[in-house]
């Protein structure tokens, strides 16, 4: 069932979507499909990664990503270990590299890392022999989130190419936005970034030439097929990036009234956790347009696909 395809995934690590080709992204999405069927069954387990160990090294709080990776690994029969950074040697001042080398010495096959600094997974990939999966690094990328967003869109819309996708909010500090941008543009979507100028990085249109920037949300959502709403972080207010959460919510909050200007079948995505009533109102989050819960379900399938393809790639080496 799983090895029908002749295509091979040649990467040892999953650090970012930037360095994946269109075909590789499509391969992950294709591989995720049958995995989704597996865990829709009552017995949700495959023996694929039996005897492999997956260490979850999360330097930032996380509910869905950590649990999602853990379930994905367990459903492939891998052993999983959670490092609680708060009670680990990190508190004694152990460096990231030393922590990772310790895990490497314990023969961890995979290290799934979430870190508040951009590039932390790259640092591990350079310094240890385990396979590194980026579960979100600083403002850089969150590749599995990007993949699960795209998987969800494709499942609902049947395609990616030609779709108009709006990403709303704090693009500057968003790893979700960057992974979405790479994935979506590689697959041929038209992406519009929407947010206040202070939260849209300088020169971002030089990286992704085919994107548009629109400061006005009402204009942006016209004709949109998908609206991906980012979480607003309250601490940005202290950096003078916007004057108040209230004004942010007035300008960029997604509510039923606003949604009337969009297509009737527009999809609403949100990577979570949501600030209900701020960037998204409850009636929108729980509406028929919303696929927020499906994103969570699909996250496991996509992460199973990633673990599986990486283990094959490592086997081939």
């Amino acid at each position: 069932m799983l090895t029908k395809t002749n295509k091979v995934f040649r990467h040892k690590h999953l650090l970012e979507l930037q360095s994946l080709s269109k075909e590789e992204i499509e391969l992950i999405l294709e591989t995720a499909k049958p995995f989704k069927n597996v865990f829709m069954r009552s017995i949700k387990k495959l023996p694929t990664l039996r005897g492999k160990s997956v260490v979850l090294l999360f330097y930032e709080p996380s509910t869905r990503t950590r649990t999602s990776f853990e379930l994905a690994a367990k459903r492939l029969s891998a052993d999983t270990v959670n490092i609680a950074v708060q009670v680990s040697s990190v508190q004694k001042g152990e460096s990231l590299i030393d922590t990772a080398k310790t895990l490497e010495s314990m023969k961890a096959d995979f290290i799934v890392i979430r870190h508040s600094y951009s590039g932390a997974p790259h640092l591990l990939a350079k310094n240890v022999s385990s396979s590194i999966i980026n579960a979100g690094d600083g403002f850089h990328e969150h590749p599995t989130q990007g993949l699960l967003d795209i998987f969800t869109i494709k499942e609902k819309k049947g395609k990616i190419e030609g779709l108009k996708v709006i990403i709303v909010g704090d693009i500057l500090h968003s790893r979700v936005a960057r992974s979405n941008l790479w994935g979506l543009t590689k697959l041929g979507a038209k992406v519009v970034l929407c947010g206040p100028p202070t939260l849209i990085p300088q020169d971002i249109d030089k990286i992704y030439p085919q994107i548009d920037i629109e400061y006005n949300l009402d204009k942006a959502i016209k004709n949109a097929d998908v609206i991906n709403i980012l979480r607003v972080q309250f601490e940005r207010q202290l950096e003078h990036l916007f004057p108040s959460v209230r004004e942010y919510s007035l300008l960029y909050g997604m509510n039923k009234e606003r949604l009337k200007n969009a297509k009737r079948d527009v999809l609403i995505l949100h990577p979570g956790p949501m600030n209900r009533g701020i960037e998204i109102t409850t009636d929108v989050a729980d509406s028929l347009n919303s696929v927020i819960n499906e994103q969570v379900t699909n996250g496991i399938a996509v992460r199973m696909a990633v673990l599986y393809l990486l283990s094959l790639a490592n086997l081939n080496k």
Binding site: Q18, S95, L96, I97, H115, Y117, S118, G119, A120, H122, L123, N127, D137, G138, F139, H140, E141, R175, R178, P201, Q202, D203, I204, K206, I207
Partner: protein, 425 residues
């Protein structure tokens, strides 16, 4: 003690000399420069195929002593300098404790005398503890031996303090070296703001953080008539502002570093999160690089300096945000200039050497240094401008260089300081 240097091409830019001349050194001084000197039983260096120049003066280095001897010491830093053809280094005051009083200056001078291989000229702090609030006893610092004052790395944010520093130091003829950075704009930034920072998700430092302070300092130099030296300029606009200041005959000089001339932020796109490309000011863009090199050609740039900033492997092999700014540069200053400015951009050696010898000595009033002239100190470098080598090891205690593994042209053969051979390559 006599030392004879024969058969080399002697370059002395201040006198337009670039010809085959022999040189005799006696008791640490240059005593004879003529066509052919033939002496028996005198130690002789054959400088065939080599350039003979005054030793380099690097006006911006961090020797880290006292306080951070794990990164560099006066002994190791001056050895690295000798290896790079440098015979005089200015050491910045961001040590621990900082060089902000007479006793600290004397400590550095004493250490340099007993352990240093080349001449060390301390730069004193402008403000106490480099806090930007209270002026140091600048007169006392001068008496103890500083050649300039600077709060390098901790730019003086108060325009009033900067004004007073420029005004007060005038009577001692001490230049104020300014590291131009508006910290309110650069705070949290770790690389140039732009395409690559957006790509890597790293906080950016806009060029304007530098340019705003360049223009402020120039305006204050105009107000006070003080001696302003702008260090490690990195942007096209900064250069334009200096050009305008010079046209107005203001007392403003500047330097640039090899890394800002020969590297751009694109290296971080190519080698993501490699902390050997993390420095302050950050690597900029192609248009800035071009402007800097043009400014060398057009003599808007007065000096070329290394901004040698050693850090240990443990400190540098870290998350990009957590690693300190800076790269080492003493051992590559000359050879990078030869490789790129001379070979690639065809800038004459004499023009390059002016900015490494004559100009620093003149701007900072170093007596008997920076020239090959009779009765001057015998600080000499002999190098082969055409010899190629691959950069591998360093004499410095640290090895945080982005140029490791690069093929470079121009190899130092001998460095002579006060008449003594201090390096032989």
């Amino acid at each position: 003690m006599k030392l004879l240097i024969k058969n080399g091409i002697l370059i002395e830019p201040s006198k337009n000399i670039e010809e085959k001349l022999d040189l005799l050194i006696e008791n640490g001084k240059i005593v004879k420069i003529t066509d052919k000197i033939n002496l028996k039983n005198v130690e002789t260096i054959d400088a065939k195929n080599c350039v003979v120049s005054a030793g380099l003066i690097d006006i911006h280095t961090h020797l880290r002593e006292p306080g951070n001897e794990e990164k560099e010491t006066i002994a190791s830093g001056t050895k690295a300098a000798a290896c790079g053809g440098i015979t005089s280094v200015f050491c910045m005051p961001n040590t621990n404790p900082p060089i902000d009083d007479q006793a600290s200056v004397e400590f550095v001078m004493l250490k340099a005398k007993s352990e240093g291989v080349v001449n060390v000229f301390p730069v004193g702090a402008v403000t106490k503890n480099r806090q930007g609030e209270e002026l140091t006893e600048i007169g006392e610092l001068k008496k103890a031996g500083v050649v300039a004052i600077s709060d390098d790395g901790e730019p003086i944010s108060s325009s009033k303090i900067m004004r007073r520093a420029l005004e007060y130091s005038k009577m001692f003829n001490l230049p104020v070296i300014s590291h131009c950075e508006d910290k309110s704009l650069s705070k949290g930034g770790v690389m140039n703001e732009g395409r690559v920072s957006a790509l890597l998700g790293l906080r950016g430092i806009p060029k304007e953080a530098e340019e705003i302070m360049v223009i402020r300092d120039i305006i204050l130099a105009s107000l006070t008539g003080g001696r302003l030296h702008l260090t490690h300029l990195s942007t096209k606009k900064s250069i334009e502002f200096v050009k305008q200041a010079k046209e107005q005959k203001l007392n403003v000089t500047c330097d640039v570093t090899p890394h800002h001339m020969f590297l751009t932020e694109d290296y971080l796109g190519k080698y993501p999160y490699d902390t050997n490309f993390k420095m302050n000011p950050p690597l900029r863009t192609e248009e800035d690089v071009e402007a800097l090199i043009d400014a060398v050609k057009d003599d808007i740039v007065d000096c070329i300096a290394s901004d040698h900033a050693p850090h240990t492997v443990e400190e540098k092999n870290k998350e990009f945000d957590l690693a300190p700014f800076g790269i080492i540069g003493l051992e590559t200053l000359l050879t990078l200039c030869i490789t790129f400015l001379y070979h690639k951009h065809k800038i004459p050696l004499s023009k390059i050497l002016t900015k490494l010898t004559n100009n620093p000595a003149k701007i900072f009033s170093l007596s008997n240094k920076g020239k090959i002239e009779l009765e001057y100190d015998a600080d000499i470098v002999i190098f082969d401008p055409n010899e190629e080598y691959v950069l591998k090891n360093f004499v410095s205690k640290s090895s945080n260089s982005p140029f490791i593994g690069w093929k470079l042209k121009g190899k130092v053969k001998y460095t002579i300081c006060n008449g003594k051979v201090v390096f032989k390559g």
